[in-house]
Symmetry: C2
Subunit: 350 residues, 2 copies
Amino acid sequence: MSLIEKCPLAGLEAFIGRCLEACTMPGPDAAKVAGLMAQADLMGQDGHGVFRLPMYVRRIRAGGMNMTPTFERLSERPATALIDGDNGMGHLVMHHATELAMDKARTTGVAWVGARHSNHAGPASLYAMMPARENMIGLYLAVGSANHMPPWGGTDMLLSTNPIAVAVPSQEYPPIVLDMATTVAAYGKVKTAAQRGETMPEGWMIDREGRPLTDPARASEGFLLPIGGPKGYGLSLIFGILAGVLNGAAFGRDVVDFNAEAETVTNTGHMILALDIAAFADPAAFRAGIDDVWRQMKSSARMPGVGEIRLPGERLHRVMIERKAEGIPIPAQLRNALDRLAADLGVASL
Amino acid sequence: MSLIEKCPLAGLEAFIGRCLEACTMPGPDAAKVAGLMAQADLMGQDGHGVFRLPMYVRRIRAGGMNMTPTFERLSERPATALIDGDNGMGHLVMHHATELAMDKARTTGVAWVGARHSNHAGPASLYAMMPARENMIGLYLAVGSANHMPPWGGTDMLLSTNPIAVAVPSQEYPPIVLDMATTVAAYGKVKTAAQRGETMPEGWMIDREGRPLTDPARASEGFLLPIGGPKGYGLSLIFGILAGVLNGAAFGRDVVDFNAEAETVTNTGHMILALDIAAFADPAAFRAGIDDVWRQMKSSARMPGVGEIRLPGERLHRVMIERKAEGIPIPAQLRNALDRLAADLGVASL
């Protein structure tokens, strides 16, 4: 028996689905969210999949999310829409928004759909990858679900890790999928280091005096560092404006810590852009061009000690193939939390 | 007399215009390019304004750019277009593309216009700021005009500093304008350090063994470093795909060094996205919201030794006001180069 239990995708999906249904989420919605959450685990985004389920359930039970949301279009143009997520789960809001963006882009060439009154939606790549499966390019931005960063030079935590994801389809190679926070490290990595009693490398965090902070147990005394200093601060600010302010969603002082406060409505903002490749190029020729990008990068001469040049999305693709075949690893601590959750909700365990 | 001569904006514009006309560029086009180039200097983007004129002229005289281009729309949808720049000056191509994107966005809400067979177009912010003057948000991406960076872990220079610029209008405060390369330092800063005989800080460049390279005279032995390591590599790759591959423009091994080779057609690719704020929000309310973003960031408590929190575009705005009033500084070395150019072209000097 392996030390870490592995769970088949279908089993994980079914488990998440029955937990959500037990929380009064309608069956079809529960199935949709379960599919997206399990896909996050399948892709290796372990901090954004079933790991979050107990926290989601806590928020649902506290009345902090609406189980029967209606997605109203607050405004609409041929290539844009602003969706009110009605405080539904972010996965449902963004799945809806992404399908709408793809529909529009098929006609207009490109479409941008924003959402307000949404919630945490899992990994950014989930939504960027939806268009990439249909000869489109997907671009997703979000306001992160808690502020962990001040403006450059400041000490008030007004900004989040505001991520960007872009997915581009290819032919023989995996799709290129960039999914990154605008901070050097995501906050989840700090939490993981704290759990394991490890020291963080310099460059992840600084304290209020600007000194390197390497003890993750002291994380609350410091801030995440943006990539490239003021440049990453600028990216976080701009992505926050495009995903938050533009949509009338929370930004800056209004951002609610999704994990700390289970009852307060978060008014999370995200946006998805879908671009129809056929509006610019023959999709097959474009995909072959992306294969050529793969070949050029992979065949570059390497620095001493570097075994392989990687492209964004390569690890994700490898993990996905491995986990499809072997199942999704569920560490003992997570397994225990999920067992407690199942007992609590009165549903069959994983 | 000041050590550095200052030239009024109108004089600089007129000088650039007559140089371009002497190179057979039609008058209205020459005026348009001159206006954009002088605006780059006005904004403090000294490496992207009149400083480039001798190099542009060298390329024009070598037959490397077309003085009478026709901008064909290779494909078009309600919210997209692909423009063939016909090897015209990048400023003309992107001014045309940006006006088209803004026209489309007024109806569709958002528009994305790409260009191929273009050339160096000056600073990215020039085009992102055009929509921001008309209650729109502008987003510009480009494939840089020379490769200075390998893929992460590699040593083949396949990537450029591929920049992003985003401009967002405000009410009482200056517009927020992010304009950044995906590398820690732009190559121009390396050249400046070399000219001044200065040492570069660690983190700008590494050599082929991955060791810090701080002597700018040895720049050709090394590479620029991306912001955030693999993250900046990912951003450069993705921006290069969106601005280059998607448009059928040069990327990777096909990128021509604009400065080194005056005759070879560069097939430069860029893209501009214009988003009509009114498709999402009342523009006045949105602009007031951006003012609030300014106030929140500016009023953050500060780290020891930090005098002021800055927002992207703040320095640009200050410099612009200063230079409008006092003129644009022209260092002696540049003044000499421009005098030689004027003599060469048989036009009145600056």
